[in-house]
């Protein structure tokens, strides 16, 4: 028995060494299985156990977090009024641009102007609207604005309409990824 258990023991030791020397991703409590009746019921019904219940002491921060793994396929979860997967996916997708404002209750994300390093004579700004609590393909709308530099001043220029839908597709793909990662837990 001891001999057969040894490889896994070594694996455990190697894991400890890994933990000590390089940065991994922190595994959140809701990524572990549970036998707790309340947590099981909440997970099955698409609610986030970490943000449910009554706060009897301290500040309830669940309303200003962006989903954090919560949010079922049909619900916002955690006090959000928009779908948590779409919200998180939109933030992820637009994170390459500086963020100007994000309102999780209205579902609006506005970025600041951003010039790609490859084309410094033009800049972009995006506005994204996450609509509703459902994870639906029409639940997100992205509008990209473009300006080009002419004689040192920025003037508006049209952005191709395909850009908007391509951004939306990226958001939806990311939302699907997030959804499938958390499904079945």
């Amino acid at each position: 028995m001891n001999i057969s258990a040894r490889p896994i023991l070594w694996l455990g030791l190697a894991a400890l060494l890994l933990a000590a020397c390089s940065g991994g991703r922190q595994v959140q409590n809701d990524e572990y299985g549970t036998d707790n009746q309340r947590e099981l019921a909440l997970r099955m019904s698409g609610s986030n156990p970490a943000t449910s219940g009554i706060v009897v002491f301290g500040v309830d921060r669940s309303r200003d977090t962006a989903g954090g793994g919560g949010g079922g396929p049909g619900g916002g979860g955690g006090g959000m009024t928009v779908n948590a997967y779409l919200w998180r996916a939109t933030l992820d997708t637009l994170s390459f641009m500086p963020l100007a404002s994000a309102d999780p209750f209205g579902g609006v994300i506005i970025t600041d102007w951003y010039s790609p390093p490859q084309a410094e004579a033009e800049r972009f700004k995006a506005t994204a609207y996450v609509i509703g609590r459902q994870l639906r393909s029409d639940g997100v709308r992205v509008q990209v604005f473009r300006q080009v530099s002419r004689n040192g001043t920025w003037v508006d220029a049209p952005a191709s309409t395909a850009t908007n839908s391509e951004m939306e597709d990226r958001v939806l793909a990311r939302a699907r990824e997030l959804r499938s990662q958390s499904a079945g837990r």
Partner: protein
């Protein structure tokens, strides 16, 4: 623009990848204390093969390590009738079982969470449960003990400290890494958990048919757990528990050696406690350790999770009246591998366990066959609906192949009594034997409708069967009843907050 967009999407991918791998930025958070809970009420319609019997079993129902609570064969019992004439009972002392019941259960949790500026998160959870716990089964909380069915008991209670770089330590009464925290392939996210769900609340434990071998059944014995962060999709965990009990104190009022005592490495009658018995979690399991390695990732939108794990333990020895210690149990020695995949609301999974364990993660008596179990399941979620089914089949240690009896002053013994093994072999054709291995299989089908966040309507059907060739599992009926089965249909609601 297209070129730029492609370029920037590459940046997006890189940034997203980095965001997943990097420790999260942290801001200090004062601790919060939350109170949450759950309640469930189900109506159940049950058909099962067993019957009520007024025959005294002679032994407390909690002491068997195997198929438990079987009454002695009434065909052999001599009874005195109303007319004062002695005769032989022929299966007359039985009554049918009621089919309708309503089962309720609730729990209250206190949850503490906090975060320090250096990214360290910490907290604790204390869970109070009335009587029994759905999936866990009654073997852990108040199983057939003298406590009332609605007595409040503590289920889990533990503290944790987690760091983005060093992982998480949990300390207290909680499941182990193989006993529920990191398993893959157990599909139970529909109904009440299908074949591992609440149907067990409705059946009479005839032939041990009620208990199923699911991760949580290993129990929340006091342990220390370490789980690493995730590296390249992999995370690892290990846990150690000194014995099978939870809670405060050792459980020993004096130095008399007993199974209720955390400190007993040997005690009289240990041979009866292969699986957890009533009251304090009493079993021979000692020095339990669990190891798990899990990989999670994504292939083109298909979420995958694979876990390999190991469970090992020692066993307390049995002690005879003359103070000799006997090793009557095998150590626990279980390998498990499981995998599951999720795509567009579908989740499928399978899990296989093999090694020295019996149907309730108990230690196998020496000479008993090792256990093996396969679980397969699938579920689908669409809007407020979830549907699912799971199936379990397994071969386990059947009746004891060896019976240990204490023989007082046998020939050759200098003094006191010694534990004497007897091989169980049938002496005639068609005689009930205890040599067989036990086959258990079950199928669960369930559906949920979410009427509000945290509140579900649930309907579920479960069939469960126990079969042990040649062994009489219902001795009050004539012939060898080598098969027991349960049919449970349940309908009800569950609310969690």
């Amino acid at each position: 623009m297209r070129k730029i967009l492609l370029g920037t999407t590459a940046v997006v991918s890189a940034v997203m990848g980095a965001a997943i791998m990097a420790p999260q930025a942290s801001a200090q958070e004062a601790p919060t204390v939350r109170i949450g809970g759950s309640f469930r009420a189900f109506y159940g319609y049950t058909q099962q093969s067993s019957q009520s019997s007024n025959t005294a079993t002679g032994l407390p129902l909690t002491t068997g390590n195997q198929v438990q609570g079987l009454p002695p064969d009434s065909t052999a019992a001599t009874v005195v009738g109303g007319n004062g004439v002695a005769g032989t009972a022929i299966g007359s002392s039985i009554a049918r079982q009621g089919k309708h019941d309503i089962s309720t259960d609730a729990n209250i949790d206190v949850i503490v969470n906090g975060k320090l500026a250096n990214g360290l998160t910490y907290g604790a959870q204390i869970s109070f449960n009335t009587g029994s716990n759905g999936i866990e089964g009654r073997q852990v909380v108040g199983q057939r003990s003298s406590a009332g069915k609605t007595t409040l008991a503590v289920d889990e209670m533990y503290a944790f400290i987690a760091h983005p770089r060093f992982g998480q330590v949990r300390f207290g009464d909680e499941d182990g890494v193989m006993g529920g925290l990191m398993n893959s392939g157990w599909i139970q996210g529909f109904g009440t958990g299908g074949v591992h769900g609440s149907w067990e609340s409705f059946v009479v434990r005839q032939a041990g048919a009620r208990t199923t071998t699911a991760p949580g059944g290993l129990g929340d014995n006091s342990k220390i757990i370490y789980m690493t962060p995730q590296f390249f999709g992999f995370d690892f965990g290990a846990s150690f528990a000194p014995n099978s009990n939870g809670g405060e104190d050792t459980g020993c009022p004096n130095s008399a050696s007993s199974g209720y005592c955390d400190a007993s490495v040997a005690f009289t009658g240990a041979r009866n406690f292969g699986v957890l018995a009533s009251g304090p979690d009493q079993a021979v399991r000692r020095n339990e350790y669990q190891l798990a390695a899990r990989w999670r990732g994504n292939f083109g939108g298909v979420g995958m999770s694979v876990t390999a794990g190991y469970l090992g333990s020692g066993a307390a020895r049995d002690m005879s009246g003359s103070g000799q210690q006997y090793r009557v149990f095998n150590n626990l020695n279980v390998w498990q591998i499981g995998a599951q995949a999720s795509y567009l609301g579908f989740t499928f999974g399978a899990n296989f366990s093999q090694g020295d364990f019996n149907f309730l993660w108990g230690n196998v008596l020496r000479g008993g066959r090792p256990g093996e179990q396969l679980v397969v399941g699938g579920q689908y979620s669409a809007g407020p609906f979830t549907f699912g089914a799971n199936f379990v089949t397994g071969l386990f240690e059947g009746g004891d192949r060896t019976t240990y009896t204490e023989v007082a002053n046998p020939a050759g013994a200098a003094l006191g009594s010694i534990l004497t093994p007897t091989q169980n072999r049938p002496t005639a054709v068609n005689q009930s034997t205890t040599l067989a291995s036990q086959r258990r299989w079950g199928l669960g089908v369930g559906a949920n409708y979410r009427i509000a966040p945290g509140m579900d309507l649930i309907a579920e059907y479960v069939y469960y069967s126990v079969r042990e060739q040649g062994r009489d599992l219902d001795t009050n009926r004539t012939g060898i009843q080598s098969r027991g089965f349960d049919n449970v249909f349940l309908l009800g609601t569950r609310l969690a907050f």
